[in-house]
């Protein structure tokens, strides 16, 4: 019995020899880091399973640590033993990892696949390459959902409904951090979209945003995990709340909750891969090989079958199809869909990299008052 197995394994190895040579010296184990839940499942289905099918003998393990990725990578780096190979992080974290020298700088055209029509990877990703270390994967948005049965006859169409407690009485769920909330507050306080960050860079502007938030402070439930808002909406604890659009999609389409999407002034953000520095050459090669595969045009489009986040490549958009199990068209649920993206707001990474600590201290002090 044992011998048969050994024999079979040997045969398999011989059969694989061709691929093995092509692989050069690549490590055969990968540790991938992501956020867990439906998002990680979509990555498993769209990227990892086909990659493993193509490269037999390669194994991938997930670590659900993306939320603490920056702190953990820094600790691993200091300890001199990095155990992660490919890490999924939001763009702001990628910038910080790059700043700290913890993420590998990527030569996009060299290391990533070109589009099927020959467009170079750097043109295909375009503006989404916000850091030298960042390999964009999806565009997601932070936007509002509201309870269709609790908002009366006129469902909200503007983000400023959040600040309108007269017409939409009830609690709102906002994230317990200044990012996004400060921008929405200024937008609804009459600041023009293009001026928001200039205003927010001043003490007076920060105070203005906090003053606007103060008008609804007593009506806000502050959340810290993305799953909170859909839960609060489902329980009827709040009538509207901000969260990631994919979470709302799951609550509406998969769970059938009476929730409507308020796409107005949705804030676009990016999520993607980074490769840590300090990997052995074999592991680095494997990581680069995986990332090249996982961010090609078809793979990014495939991910949209499982979750309603927009693929980061321009060339992937036309390939977005139907949901894998629900069978509904995914395009109208993408934050980048023209119908949803009538009024969008682009998160300013550079600004928040500088002002995050300062404004966060003010925001937390204001919350505690």
């Amino acid at each position: 019995m044992k011998r048969t197995k050994t024999l079979m394994a040997t045969t398999a190895l011989t059969a694989l020899a061709g691929t093995a040579i092509a692989d050069g010296h690549m490590a055969s184990d990968m540790t991938l880091v992501s956020w867990g839940g439906a998002y990680q499942a979509s990555q498993q289905k769209a990227y990892v399973e086909p990659y493993i099918a193509m490269n037999e003998g390669v194994t991938a393990v997930w670590d659900e640590s993306s939320a603490e990725a920056v702190a953990k990578l820094r600790a691993m780096n200091e300890a001199g033993s990095v155990t992660w190979d490919v890490v999924d992080v939001v763009a702001a974290d990628a910038i910080r990892l790059c700043d700290e020298g913890l993420a590998l700088e990527i030569d996009v055209d060299e290391m990533l696949a070109a589009a099927p029509d020959g467009t170079s990877a750097s043109d295909d990703f375009g503006d989404l390459l916000v850091s030298d270390c960042f390999i964009p994967q999806i565009v997601y948005s932070t936007t509002f959902g509201y309870r269709t049965d609790l908002v009366g006859d006129t469902p909200p169409t503007s983000v400023c409904a959040v600040f309108d407690t007269e017409n939409y009485p009830g609690k709102r769920a906002l994230e317990r951090r200044p990012i996004n909330n400060m921008e929405w507050a200024l937008l609804c306080d009459g600041v023009a979209k293009e001026d928001v960050y200039d205003v927010l860079a001043t003490d007076a502007g920060q105070q203005q945003a906090l003053d606007k938030l103060a008008t609804i402070k007593d009506d806000v439930v502050w959340w810290s995990a993305g799953a909170d808002t859909p839960q609060l909406l489902a329980d009827g604890e709040v009538i509207m709340g901000s969260t990631y659009n994919g979470r709302l999609f799951a609550a509406i389409e998969e769970q059938g909750q009476p929730i409507g999407m308020l796409w107005d002034a949705q804030v676009f953000d990016l999520d993607g891969w980074i490769i840590p520095t300090g990997l052995s050459p074999e592991r680095q090669k494997r990581a680069l090989d995986f990332v090249k595969f996982a961010t090609d045009t078809q793979r990014l489009a495939d991910q949209a079958k499982y979750i309603s986040y927009g693929p980061a490549r321009a060339s992937s958009a036309p390939l977005v199809g139907k949901h894998a199990t629900l069978g509904i068209d995914m395009a109208p649920h993408m934050p980048t869909d023209p119908e949803n993206a009538k009024n969008t707001f682009l998160y300013n990474y550079e600004f928040w990299a500088d002002y995050r600590d300062d404004i966060d201290a003010k925001f937390q002090a204001w919350l505690a008052q």
Partner: protein, 598 residues
Amino acid sequence: MSDAAQSGPMLAADGTPLKRSLARALRRQKLRALALIAPLLLFVLITFIIPIASMLFRSVENQIVENTLPMTVQELRGWDATSGDLPSEAVYEAMYFDMFLAAEAKRHTRLGSRLNYETTGMSSLFRQSGRRLDDIGKETQRPLERLNGDWKDGETWHAVLSAGDSAAATDLVAVQRARIAYLTDTDAAGAVNFAPSAELAALLPRTMREYTAWAVFTATQDNRDPAVRDPWESVATALALDLQTADLSGYEGAGAELLREAQAAALPVPAMTQAFADMDEDWATAEPWATIQTHSGAYTSGYFLNAVDAQKTPDGVAWQPEEKQILLTLFWRTLVMSLAITISCMLLGYPIAWLLANLPARKANLLLILVLLPFWTSLLVRTSAWKVMLQTQGVVNDTLVWWHSTFVGQLIDPVITFILNIFIGLMNAVLWVWNLLSGIWGAVDLELFTYAALGFERLALINNVTGTIIAMTHILLPFMILPMYSVMQTIPPSYLRAAKSLGATNTVAFWRVYFPQSVPGIGAGSILVFILAIGYYITPEIVGGTKGVFISNRIAFHISSSLNWGLAAALGTILLVAVLILYWAYDKIVGIDNVKLG
């Protein structure tokens, strides 16, 4: 008989004095005991004490500034940040060379993040300047290469600057090796195919320093031979600066002609002050320089000052602007709420422990299981369960609404409301006095819910102080009950019977006989609960909302989000010291000998 006559010390059987023999035996016993616990001691030391100590050390450690910008820090010593003048050209020049090397090692951004904790905007200032730095050097490099094509060739540089057969300044290599080792987190070891010429090092100090740095970096980091590679732009800049003043008349070594030709050509020298101002206008203000100067020490009190809402400025210590003061409030709130949780655990736990100790064994065991069952359940599950219970549309509120709609409820509710309001009014009065006393740190808002609208409006039981106190009391209750129970078990019931038979009433017998004997259990439970509560993180995070969060939530933020580990370590140290002081005070007031876990 003879014993009485003996005057010397008492002797053991072998003739040594008994006292010494006894001491030796005891010492041997002690050593044996020590050897027995040695594995545990080492384990605790290695896995617990050393990591904690090194984490706490971060609260004062600040070598990054000095190590990344050594020359700048040196040059800035002579500058007075409060004078309103910009630093001298020499400072800008030092910064150029420091930052050039740091940018090559990609460490300038790390320093930028560090300084951004002190002054907003430093992060992007460093990141962007690192990118634009190359342009400054190109201004000199191009004319030099146009002047004589030989300068384009890395081999020329190597031939000119190498010592060859003459004296070599090998200490220069060691200095740059140490710098690069720090900047790259490697040991920067290995052979470097370059020996700086001592004679040229004296004539062209900057050039030699920068070329050596480049050579060490190329050899140890890129694993290339510096003899055949082209040096960085910074080396050309350094040469142009050196040639302005160098006296080459006596120099006859390698490349003498080349150097004299370059000197005669009067290469353009970048005005560093202007070049930096062109990169980013912030460099033409005193602020970034003041930040670097103020935080340049290898050890800093800055993190501890930040931890108590103060900051280091060029003018000395100052309070943070009022709108940023939060940490002292949080410390105070953590203490007050932990105390409230300890007291409510005490009040709820005492009767339960008494029952456990005094019921017949069968019933007591059942009760004990009821106490332990939640104790064995995951913390997150219990906290989430409280969320379901307490939220506005939750079980408690739903029940209250239903109760109010019943006939009996409508009849009784006004009475309950009245009684509860008196009770809560009293509690609020106590808290109000407490707040008044703590006025120096700004009142800690501990508004407890009011029952006035019971049945008409749903109660806010979660996402506030009330939620945290309820959930944490429940979670920490077993830590109070178990020590109390084990102490109460040792109190013989005959004492109470004796007291009563001597004429004491129930109350007197309890207060004068039973209660004093149970105090060690209360003490042990209270210390346990208080110390656990003070460092609690996940429960306040989930049910605390905005006013029910603790200092530990802020520590977590600085560890995992802002990456300001120095501040997190300072906050942690303060918390640790606070606990030690309270422990000491408890020892002084109650006496630690009076604490019993069983």
